[in-house]
C-alpha cells in the first residue's frame, strides 16, 4: 500500500502537518485490554451499582420492554446504518421511520410527526423556537411552573441567545395545576406560545381544553407537552379545546427505551399540517420510484442545515434513529390495547401507592386534582433523610422536590408504573412507616447516622 502511494512509511503521510504538532502522544489513556478483561471490568462496575426498587419517575419511567424490541433494534442492519441519505439503500430505516411518524401522529392526534429530536427537554426548546419562527411577531413564551423544572432550564439555555423570553406562570396551591382564570394576568402581553403539560410535572392533569382555547383566543400557539403512555388514556393534544394544540412535543423514552442513566432517549415532535415547513429535524415522506413503485425518502430537506446553512430551521443533524426504532417496534408489539393496559396499570398502581403511603401517619397528599401515574406527597420529615434511609433498604423512594419547589415544603414526587407489584408497594410502605415514625420519636440526626436500623 505504501508503495502504491509512493511513500516509505506511514509517518510520511502526516508530513503536511506542522512538525511541532505531531508530538501529540497520549499519556492518560491506559493500555488496551482484551474483550474478556474489559468485560470483567464492566461487570464489576455494574455489580457495584446494584439494583433498586424504583419509585422515581420525574420524566423517565420504568416500563416493561418486550424482549423482541432490542433483539431487533440491535440487528447490525439497523444498528450500524446511518442517516438514510441513499434512499434506495435505506428503505428499511426509512419505512420504519414513516411507520413511526404515522403512529406518533395518531397517538398525539396531530397531522404530522418528524423522525425525532434528541430528547424531551431539547425537543421542547425546538418547539419554542418553532413557535417563535411561525408567529413572526412575538418572542415571549408562557411557561407554567408545572413544566418539568429541568426542561425549563434546558429551554432557557438553548433559546436565550435568540432574545426569547420565558415567562413563568405560578401553579395553584390546591390543585397543583395552571389555573385557567389566572391567565388573564398575561393578556395583551404579546406571547408567541403557551406551553401546556399533560400530565404536568406533579403528575396532575391540567385543564387542557380551557388553556388551549385561551391561547388561541390571544393569538398564540398552544404547545402540548405530553407523556406518550398517558395518551392511551388521555385526550390527544390534537383534540384539545376547539381547535387542538398546534405543536405537540414530549419525551419518547417510556415507549421502549430503558432508563439507562438518562439516555439515549428521544424527543417526539408533531404539529398541524400548516406548520410542517417550520419543523426542525428529519422528516420522511412516501413517494414513488421512476417505475411508480411506492418508496420512502427524506423530504423537506430545504429546511435543514446541510442545505440552508445559516438559514436552517435548526442546527439539528442526527435524530435518535435507533431509539425511535425501538419505540416503533414497542408500539407495534403492544398495539392500542396493550398500550392502554400499560397506562391503566400505571395509573392504578400509582393510586394504590398513594393510598397506601398516605395511610401512614405523617404522610399526606399535596394536591387534590386527578393524576395520571405520579403524585406529590408531603412528609412529616426531611425528604432527603427519608430517601437516604429508604435507599439503605434498596428502595428509591421518589424525586425530592425541595430544590425546585421549596414552597411545597417537604414534598416528594412518586411514581409506580405497571412494573411495580402490590408487594413492592407494601415494602415501600413498610419501610417508610418505620422511617417517618422513628423520625418523629428520635432526634433529627438519628436517621442519618444509622439508616439501617
Amino acid at each position: 500500500m505504501l508503495a502504491s502511494i509512493g511513500v516509505k512509511s506511514i509517518n510520511d503521510l502526516f508530513d503536511e502537518i506542522p512538525e511541532n504538532l505531531r508530538a501529540g502522544k497520549l499519556t492518560q489513556v491506559p493500555e488496551g485490554q482484551s474483550e474478556m478483561e474489559v468485560g470483567r471490568l464492566m461487570q464489576a462496575r455494574a455489580n457495584q451499582d446494584g439494583t433498586y426498587l424504583n419509585f422515581i419517575g420525574a420524566g423517565a419511567y420504568e416500563h416493561h420492554i418486550p424482549a423482541a424490541v432490542w433483539e431487533i433494534v440491535t440487528r447490525g442492519e439497523f444498528y450500524s446504518a446511518y442517516t438514510p441519505y441513499q434512499a434506495e439503500a435505506s428503505q428499511g430505516t426509512l419505512q420504519l421511520l414513516y411507520e413511526y411518524q404515522t403512529m406518533m401522529a395518531s397517538l398525539t392526534g396531530m397531522d404530522v410527526s418528524n423522525a425525532s429530536l434528541y430528547d424531551g427537554a431539547s425537543g421542547l426548546a425546538e418547539s419554542v423556537l418553532m413557535a417563535v419562527r411561525a408567529h413572526k411577531q412575538a418572542r415571549k413564551i408562557l411557561m407554567p411552573s408545572t413544566v418539568h423544572p429541568i426542561y425549563r432550564r434546558v429551554v432557557q439555555a438553548i433559546v436565550k441567545n435568540q432574545n426569547i423570553e420565558l415567562v413563568e406562570i405560578p401553579h395553584g396551591n390546591e390543585g397543583g395545576h395552571t389555573i385557567p382564570e389566572s391567565l388573564k394576568n398575561y393578556e395583551g402581553g404579546e406571547f408567541a406560545a403557551l406551553v401546556i403539560p399533560q400530565p404536568n410535572f406533579f403528575g396532575v392533569l391540567e385543564e387542557v381544553d380551557a388553556l388551549t382555547d385561551w391561547a388561541h383566543a390571544h393569538n398564540m400557539f398552544a404547545i402540548g407537552l405530553v407523556n406518550p403512555t398517558a395518551l392511551a388514556l388521555l385526550t390527544p393534544p390534537g383534540n384539545w379545546g376547539e381547535k387542538g394544540a398546534d405543536i405537540t412535543v414530549g419525551e419518547g423514552q417510556p415507549l421502549g427505551a430503558p432508563l439507562s442513566s438518562g439516555g439515549p432517549y428521544y424527543g417526539f415532535l408533531c404539529c398541524k399540517q400548516a406548520l410542517v415547513r417550520q419543523m426542525p429535524g428529519r422528516i420522511i415522506g412516501r413517494t414513488v420510484d421512476k417505475n411508480g413503485k411506492s418508496g420512502f425518502a427524506l423530504t423537506l430537506q430545504a429546511r435543514e442545515q446541510h442545505i440552508r446553512r445559516s438559514k436552517a430551521t435548526s442546527n439539528i443533524c442526527t435524530n435518535q434513529g435507533l431509539v425511535v426504532a425501538a419505540s416503533t417496534i414497542y408500539m407495534a408489539l403492544l398495539g392500542p390495547e396493550g398500550l392502554e393496559r400499560v397506562a391503566r396499570a400505571s395509573h392504578a398502581n400509582t393510586l394504590a401507592l398513594v393510598e397506601r403511603l398516605t395511610a401512614i401517619k405523617g404522610v399526606t397528599r399535596v394536591f387534590n386534582r386527578p393524576v395520571f401515574h405520579e403524585a406529590v406527597l408531603r412528609l412529616d420529615a426531611p425528604v432527603a433523610d427519608a430517601l437516604r434511609a429508604l435507599e439503605a433498604q434498596g428502595i428509591l423512594g421518589g424525586y425530592d422536590l425541595s430544590e425546585h419547589y421549596p414552597h411545597l415544603g417537604q414534598a416528594l414526587l412518586i411514581c409506580a408504573t405497571e412494573t411495580r407489584t402490590r408487594e413492592d408497594i407494601e415494602q415501600y410502605a413498610f419501610h417508610l412507616e418505620r422511617i417517618v415514625s422513628k423520625r418523629r420519636l428520635d432526634p433529627p440526626c438519628a436517621v442519618k447516622a444509622n439508616p439501617n436500623v
Partner: protein, 483 residues
C-alpha cells in the same frame, strides 16, 4: 407492505402488557381519549418478521463497505453494545442518587479523563446529545465568555466556506451573524481574507481540521494567531478527529473549545441516524462555561458537578446527563483500544484513504486537490465526466449501490462541483478497498460505454431512483386508513 396493512382488529400480544385491564379510577371523562390510536394489531411473530425484513433492505457497516465521507463509518465492536447493555446499567434511573451509581460514574469520569488527553484540553463535559449540540455548547460558551468580560460588541462568527452546514446554523442559534471566509486553491483557509475579516466584532472562528476538503489546514498556527490577536476564540469542529486521533491534539493547535462526535471517532453506532454523543472540551479560559452536569471526584467518590458548583456554566442541554448508553459504548471502545490502539486509528485510516486516492488517480479519476495528501478522507470531482458523458456524481453513487457498496458522501463539500468525499476508515481490510477500487473503475468504463445504464442506476435494489420532488410537493408523511 406497511405494518398497518398486517393489522387485524382484535389481534395482539396479551403477554407483553399487563394481563388485566385495570380500572381507571381517577380520570374524569372530560380528560379521556375517545378514539383509539392507529397502532397495529398484530402478533409478535408478525412484528418480528416485518421489522427483520425491513432491516434487510438497509445497507449497513455490518453488511457493506460504507465509505461515507465525514461520517466515519468504522466497525462498531459488538462488545461495546453488549457491555453497555448490562442489566444494572440499563436499569439505573437518571435521578437515582450518586451513591447508587458509583460504577457508572467511574466509567464516565474515566471517559472524561481520556477525552481530555485526546483533545489536549483542560476539562470535558459529556452532556451534549449529538455533534450539533456539542457545537451549540461550544459557541454558546464563546458567547458566555465574551459576555462575562463585558465585551458586548462581538457579534460575528467566522466560518470557512468549506464548513459543515451545522457550523453556520449553530452560530445563528447562538445569536451570531455569520461571515464566510474563502478557501484557497489548495484547500487552505485564505489568510488574507481572514486578516481582512477579523476585528472587534469577531467572537470567534469555527474550524474543522482536517477540513471537510480532506486536507490538513497547514496554516493553523497563523490562523490561531490572527483570531486570538483580534480578541476572538477558536472553536474546533471535531467531526474529523479520526484523522489525527493519538497523533495531534487540537489543544496544541491553539483551539479554545472543541466538540467530538463519539459516534464517529469512538465507534458508537450510527443507528440509522442517531443517537450520537457530542462531548465538549475546553481550555482553562472556557472551562467555567462548560455545560452541566459534569462528573467530579472528591477523594474516592464520584459526584455530579452542577450549576451550584459551576455558576458560570451555559446550563443544561438535556433533561439528564447526556446519552449515557452511547457514552458507555465509547468508554468500552476506548478501553479495548487503549493508547496504542488509538495511535493506530489515525495511521490506518490515513493509510487507507491515501491508498484508495492513489489507486483511483492512477485509473483516471480526478482529485479535487491533487497536490495534497489525503487525511482520513479525500475529494474526487466528476465535473469532467459529467461534461463528457452526462454521468453525474449522483449517477456514479447510485451505480455503486448496485455493486454492493454504500456510496460516499456526494455533493459535499459544496465548494467542489460533482464531488465525492470518500472515507474508508481504519477498519477496512485492503481486499475490501481493492474491491471498491475495482468497482469504481468498472463504473468509469460504464460511464463511457453505457452512460444511460449508469444514469438509470440503481437496478438491483428494492426500489429504483425515487421521486424526491414529488415527495416534497405532495407531502405524504403518515399512512391513513382507507375504507
Amino acid at each position: 407492505m406497511l405494518i398497518f396493512e398486517h393489522s387485524q382488529t382484535g389481534r395482539g400480544n396479551p403477554s407483553q402488557a399487563p394481563l388485566s385491564k385495570a380500572e381507571v379510577k381517577d380520570i374524569p371523562e372530560k380528560f379521556r381519549r375517545k378514539q383509539k390510536p392507529l397502532l397495529p394489531e398484530i402478533s409478535e411473530m408478525q412484528a418480528v418478521r416485518h421489522y427483520t425484513r425491513l432491516s434487510q433492505k438497509n445497507f449497513s457497516i455490518d453488511t457493506h463497505f460504507y465509505p461515507l465521507g465525514s461520517c466515519t463509518m468504522k466497525y462498531n465492536p459488538r462488545a461495546c453494545n453488549k457491555l453497555a447493555m448490562l442489566p444494572n446499567l440499563l436499569g439505573r434511573h437518571p435521578y437515582a442518587p450518586e451513591s447508587t451509581g458509583q460504577g457508572f460514574l467511574a466509567c464516565m469520569y474515566e471517559l472524561q479523563e481520556m477525552l481530555k488527553d485526546v483533545t489536549g484540553m483542560k476539562a470535558v463535559s459529556l452532556t451534549p446529545l449529538a455533534g450539533a449540540q456539542g457545537e451549540f455548547a461550544g459557541v454558546a460558551m464563546i458567547r458566555a465568555y465574551h459576555e462575562s468580560r463585558g465585551d458586548q460588541g462581538r457579534t460575528e462568527i467566522l466560518v470557512p466556506d468549506a464548513a459543515h452546514g451545522t457550523n453556520p446554523a449553530t452560530a445563528v442559534m447562538c445569536g451570531y451573524t455569520v461571515r464566510e471566509i474563502p478557501t484557497d486553491a489548495n484547500g487552505d483557509v485564505d489568510i488574507e481574507s481572514l486578516k481582512a475579516a477579523v476585528g472587534p466584532q469577531t467572537a470567534g472562528l469555527m474550524l474543522t481540521n482536517p477540513s471537510t476538503l480532506g486536507v490538513f489546514e497547514r496554516k493553523i498556527h497563523e490562523i490561531s494567531k490572527i483570531v486570538h490577536e483580534a480578541g476572538g476564540l477558536l472553536y474546533y469542529d471535531g467531526a474529523n478527529l479520526n484523522a489525527i486521533l493519538g497523533r495531534v491534539k487540537p489543544g496544541d493547535m491553539g483551539f479554545d473549545v472543541i466538540h467530538m462526535n463519539l459516534h464517529k471517532t469512538f465507534s458508537t453506532p450510527h443507528g440509522g441516524g442517531g443517537p450520537g454523543a457530542g462531548p465538549v472540551a475546553a481550555n482553562s479560559r472556557l472551562e467555567p462555561f462548560l455545560p452541566v452536569p459534569i462528573v467530579g471526584q472528591v477523594q474516592d467518590k464520584y459526584l455530579w458537578e452542577t450549576e451550584k458548583t459551576r455558576p458560570q456554566s451555559i446550563g443544561r442541554l438535556s433533561a439528564n446527563m447526556g446519552n449515557a448508553g452511547v457514552l458507555l459504548r465509547a468508554y468500552v471502545y476506548a478501553r479495548l483500544l487503549g493508547r496504542e490502539g488509538m495511535h493506530r486509528v489515525a495511521e490506518f485510516s490515513t493509510l487507507n484513504a491515501n491508498y484508495i486516492m492513489a489507486e483511483l488517480a492512477r485509473r483516471g479519476f480526478i482529485l479535487a486537490f491533487p497536490k495534497r495528501r489525503a487525511t482520513h478522507e479525500f475529494v474526487l470531482t466528476f465535473k469532467q465526466l459529467k461534461e463528457e458523458t452526462g454521468v453525474s456524481a449522483m449517477d456514479v453513487a447510485k451505480r455503486l449501490l448496485d455493486k454492493g457498496f454504500h456510496a460516499p458522501t456526494t455533493y459535499f463539500p459544496l465548494l467542489v462541483p460533482e464531488c465525492f468525499l470518500i472515507e474508508p476508515t481504519e477498519t477496512e481490510a485492503k481486499e475490501e478497498l481493492d474491491r471498491f477500487i475495482a468497482a469504481m473503475d468498472e463504473i468509469l468504463k460504464e460511464a463511457h460505454s453505457s452512460a444511460e445504464m449508469v444514469k438509470g442506476a440503481p437496478h438491483t435494489l428494492p426500489v429504483k431512483r425515487l421521486d424526491d420532488v414529488r415527495a416534497a410537493r405532495e407531502l405524504d408523511l403518515a399512512w391513513k386508513r382507507t375504507g
